[in-house]
């Protein structure tokens, strides 16, 4: 029951600034969604604050003026909720699957996780401290291979950058990142049985200044229109 | 910020300076004790490193003393025991430094105007300060350089600018550290004259450090001879120069000083030389011989009234105008002063043997 605190919202009373703290990997998608939302509710204005999920949690805990928090993983959302509660029950609005990102045209002919175990390969992945790092570990475990990367990156974007620049041969990233990279890189799918699913929760934060707006935005993200936008950026629906 | 110093002197009344200075600074052990009366000028003379500049720094408050007391016009400005220390800016001292210290980021004019602008009492308008500064620049002959940077001035020009900068603030206590040292012969006389003219209309007291006896003679009422941090001789010019008691003073006055012991009208020196003198009490004494009363000859002049004659070697020939000073080394080192004519006649050269003779009556003897 995700609507125990639900407040009935109608276009009329959704107004003012709606401050949305969103994970950096949502930058493109949420910028679009924000625009559409403002079209929907002319009285409202969406203020977006993008940063690493954990940075955002730190900021909110420092009582940053947030109404909505969209995290790239459940653990950061949990940290926030356990620390300061919430206005609405967190709900998953998107999922993401891991992919192997490689050079355009896959010159090294990488076909799967197993190939990453090759020491001649420059493999980079996220640090175990960040979600995509944990996922990578799981994936290796599932595939039963031991991969020693050259570097544990601070975030998934760093992985993408290194592959795009050709400094790294391959890395574990999200499907959305591969799409975002366009033709500067290309993805090698990981079979579902070995893969993991990243869940993106969203919630209105405890002391949201604009609770009505927050509620409306959460609902809007969960609604079909936003979902199609997310899909366009490679996200999947939970 | 307005300390006792400035405010009290504000009235322009007469002031007195009394200084007992004890200060240890590196190799220097300074222990001096002197007074300067209102309107009086005390000249500090002494060899390099004697501590002259340091004394001035103490008086200015730039170097707090270790022991003793400095009193200006009855006000204690420095006393380590009572932990009193009036800051330099509140002492109303004027300090002309041995090496100019002009502000490179200000024009010469602004340098001279600095002091006037700096003090809060009396408040001086920028325009006023500049006009006063201009007057002073005129007096030291730098009117044309008013808007140049000090860095483009020559040594002497810079020195004169520094002089003007200090005089412009019309200080109550004036400290001059070799104010004329870098001036050329021509300018020096002029600046010295200006300086004296200013000093005559100056009711405070002044301490002057100089190497140039002429400065001392021209400007000083009393002279203190400083050597290795101690005052070895102090008194009026007459007193000090009449009876030099140190090699330095003798050099300064330009006379020969012979230290020895008198016994029965004869003074014998440590080196064994003997000087026949007119009557004088026995005992350790100084004998002063004026260079121009020393006659030079290639051979001893027999049968002359002279009863003193010493052999020696010429080490030094200094020509000065139409006179020549001849330095002679030997058992009794002497400097003789003869005319250029005499020199040419004798055709003297350094390194040659010579005989110097002096009339006993020309020798002044006094107990040491």
């Amino acid at each position: 029951g995700s609507d125990d605190l639900a407040i009935p919202t109608s276009g009329s009373d959704v107004a003012g600034d709606v401050t949305v703290f969103a994970a950096a990997s949502l930058t493109a998608a949420f910028t679009e969604i924000g625009a559409v939302f403002e079209a929907e509710y002319p009285e409202a204005a969406v203020v977006l604050n993008f940063a690493g999920s954990s940075d955002l949690v730190a900021q909110i805990l420092q009582s940053a003026p947030a109404d909505v928090f969209a995290s790239a993983d459940t653990s950061n959302m949990d940290r926030l909720v356990s620390a300061s509660g919430h206005a609405t029950e967190p709900s998953m609005f998107a999922t993401n699957v891991a992919e192997i990102i490689v050079q355009p045209g896959n010159p090294l002919g990488i076909t799967g996780v197993v190939d990453l175990a090759n020491d001649d390969l420059i493999v980079v992945q996220c640090a175990p401290e960040v979600p995509c790092g944990r996922y990578a570990a799981e994936i290796y475990a599932n595939a039963g291979v031991a991969v020693i990367p050259k570097s544990y990156e601070e975030n998934v974007n760093a992985v993408v950058t290194k592959v795009r620049l050709g400094e790294a041969d391959a890395g574990i990233v999200y499907a959305t990142d591969v799409i975002g990279a366009g033709d500067a890189a290309q993805g090698v799918a990981i079979p579902a049985d070995a893969n993991v699913i990243a869940e993106y929760p969203i919630a209105a934060v405890a002391d949201a200044a604009n609770l009505v707006g927050a509620q409306a935005f959460v609902d809007f993200v969960l609604a079909a229109e936003s979902q199609s936008i997310l899909a366009a950026h490679g996200f999947r629906t939970p | 910020m307005d300390g006792p110093g400035r405010s009290e002197h504000g009235n322009g009344g007469a002031v007195t300076l009394s200084a007992q200075i004890g200060l240890q600074l590196g190799a220097l052990d300074l222990q001096v004790d002197f007074e300067v009366q209102p309107g009086e000028l005390l000249a500090l003379l002494g060899p390099n490193g004697a501590g002259k500049s340091t004394v001035l720094r103490c008086l200015a408050g730039l170097a707090p003393i270790d022991s003793g007391e400095i009193r200006i016009d009855g006000t204690i400005v420095d006393n380590p025991v009572t932990d009193t220390l009036v800051e330099p800016e509140d002492r109303s001292v004027g300090f002309v430094f041995q090496n100019y210290l002009l502000f490179e980021h200000l024009s010469v004019l602004e340098n001279v105007a600095f002091g006037l602008r700096a003090r809060r009492t009396p408040k001086v308008s920028k325009a006023k300060a500049r006009s006063v500064a201009n007057d002073w620049l005129g007096r030291v002959g730098l009117a044309d350089y008013a808007h140049q940077r000090p860095g483009t001035l020559s040594g002497g020009q810079a020195q004169r600018a520094a002089l003007a900068r200090c005089l412009a603030t019309n200080p109550r206590l004036l400290l001059l550290d070799e104010p004329l040292a870098a001036l050329d012969a021509g300018t020096r006389a002029t600046v010295r004259r200006d300086l004296r003219r200013f000093l005559e209309t100056f009711d405070g007291m002044r301490v002057l450090v100089t190497h140039d006896p002429v400065d001392a003679y021209a400007l000083a009422d009393r002279v203190a001879i400083l050597d290795a941090g101690r005052i070895v001789q102090i008194g009026t010019l007459a007193e000090v120069t009449a009876h030099p008691r140190s090699r330095y003073v003798a050099d300064l006055v330009g006379v020969n000083l012979v230290a020895g012991t008198v016994a029965g009208g004869v003074l014998s020196t440590a080196s064994g030389a003997t000087v026949v003198i007119a009557d004088a009490p026995d005992g350790p004494s100084f004998a002063m011989i004026r260079p121009h009363s020393v006659a030079l000859a290639r051979v001893p002049a027999d049968g002359s009234s002279t009863r003193n004659a010493w052999r020696g070697v010429i080490v030094d020939i200094d020509r000065l105008g139409d006179r020549v000073r001849v330095g002679m080394a030997g058992q009794l080192p002497l400097t003789a002063e003869i005319t250029t004519g005499a020199l040419d006649a004798l055709a003297l050269q350094p390194g040659e043997d010579i005989v110097a003779s002096v009339k006993a009556t020309d020798i002044e003897v006094y107990p040491s």
């Binding site: 950096a24 990997s25 930058t27 493109a28 203020v47 977006l48 604050n49 993008f50 940063a51 940075d55 730190a58 900021q59 420092q62 009582s63 940053a64 003026p65 974007n157 950058t161 795009r164 975002g180 500067a184 | 910020m1 400035r6 720094r57 200015a60 408050g61 730039l62 800051e87 330099p88 800016e89 002492r91 001292v93 004027g94 300090f95 430094f97 090496n99 100019y100 210290l101 002009l102 502000f103 490179e104 980021h105 200000l106 600095f114 002091g115 700096a118 003090r119 809060r120 940077r149 000090p150 860095g151 483009t152 001035l153 020559s154 040594g155 810079a158 900068r165 200090c166 603030t169 400290l175």
Partner: protein, 275 residues
């Protein structure tokens, strides 16, 4: 003809060689950026509203930060160079704090100090209703925190190198310490002050970690250029490169421009006694 000028321009070869290597080391990455920059659609990125807003904010904040660094940093430098008090060394070290601190941690530390729950911050909030985090003021604070040390250390070194006898001379002319500070000390360290200000400004302009942590990343209020660059790295690395280049071009302009006015040689050499 250069030879005719005499002076220092004919440097010893080994030194020259090292210097050239150093220049190449700085030049290559820039060339790299220019080389990879997407010139075709650079213009569109540059004229993008968000970019311009971020740029304006960066300029305003970094200048404020520089100003504050000078106002507070110069006195501090003076205290360090001339003051004699216990723990002077510690205070000096304290000033380099924000340099060794990873920027993000710096931001967190600022929260502890000036955040709404911070040691001082809570009172700023309760008594004056001032909150620094997530405001433009917060950006300035973060940048100042990171930038000031560069000014302090540069100026302090200059103050130590300064010949104090000139200040002595000024004192005997009746100038108060404050007057001397303004009219003698400051002018004579102008080159170092200029250098320090440039360092501080440049550092503030490039500041990222402390800013995004302490002030957040709100377009218009706290999103400075580096933050915008960071975000566009997420979505569009090409834009990131172009914006970085813009940042560089601007700072170049400012530096080359300021240079002449700020760091003349004439003012530099306070120690000249005679030519």
């Amino acid at each position: 003809m250069s030879k005719r000028r005499g002076g220092g321009e004919s440097l010893p070869v080994p030194v020259l060689a090292l210097a050239v290597v150093a220049i190449a080391f700085f030049a290559l990455p820039l060339i790299g950026l220019l080389w990879r920059a997407p010139w075709s659609n650079a213009w569109t990125y540059l004229t993008d509203d968000d970019a311009l807003t971020a740029l304006r904010l960066s300029m305003v904040c970094s200048l404020w930060a520089t100003g504050l660094s000078v106002v507070f940093g110069v006195p501090l430098a003076w205290l360090l160079a001339r003051g004699t008090f216990p723990g002077r060394e510690a205070v000096r070290a304290l000033c380099t704090l924000s340099m060794v601190l990873p920027p993000v941690v710096g931001g967190v530390a600022l929260f502890f100090a000036l955040g709404r729950r911070g040691i001082v911050g809570q009172y700023l909030d309760q008594w004056f209703g001032i909150t620094l985090p997530f405001t433009t003021a917060g950006v300035v604070v973060a940048q100042t925190f990171v930038a000031m040390p560069f000014l302090v250390i540069t100026v302090e070194a200059a103050l130590r190198q300064l010949d104090t006898r000139f200040e002595d001379a000024a004192r005997t002319l009746g100038a108060s310490r404050w007057y001397i500070f303004r009219r003698v000390t400051l002018p004579s360290i102008r080159p170092a002050l200029g250098a320090g200000a440039v360092l501080a400004w440049a550092r503030a302009l490039g500041e990222f970690g402390a800013t995004i942590t302490f002030a957040g990343n709100f377009p218009g209020t706290t999103q400075t250029m580096p933050l915008a660059v960071y975000l566009s790295l997420e979505t569009n690395p090409e834009e990131a490169i172009v914006l970085s280049l813009l940042l560089i071009v601007i700072s170049f302009g400012v530096l080359v421009g300021l240079r002449g006015r700020w760091m003349g040689r004439a003012e530099a050499n306070m120690a000249t006694v005679v030519p």
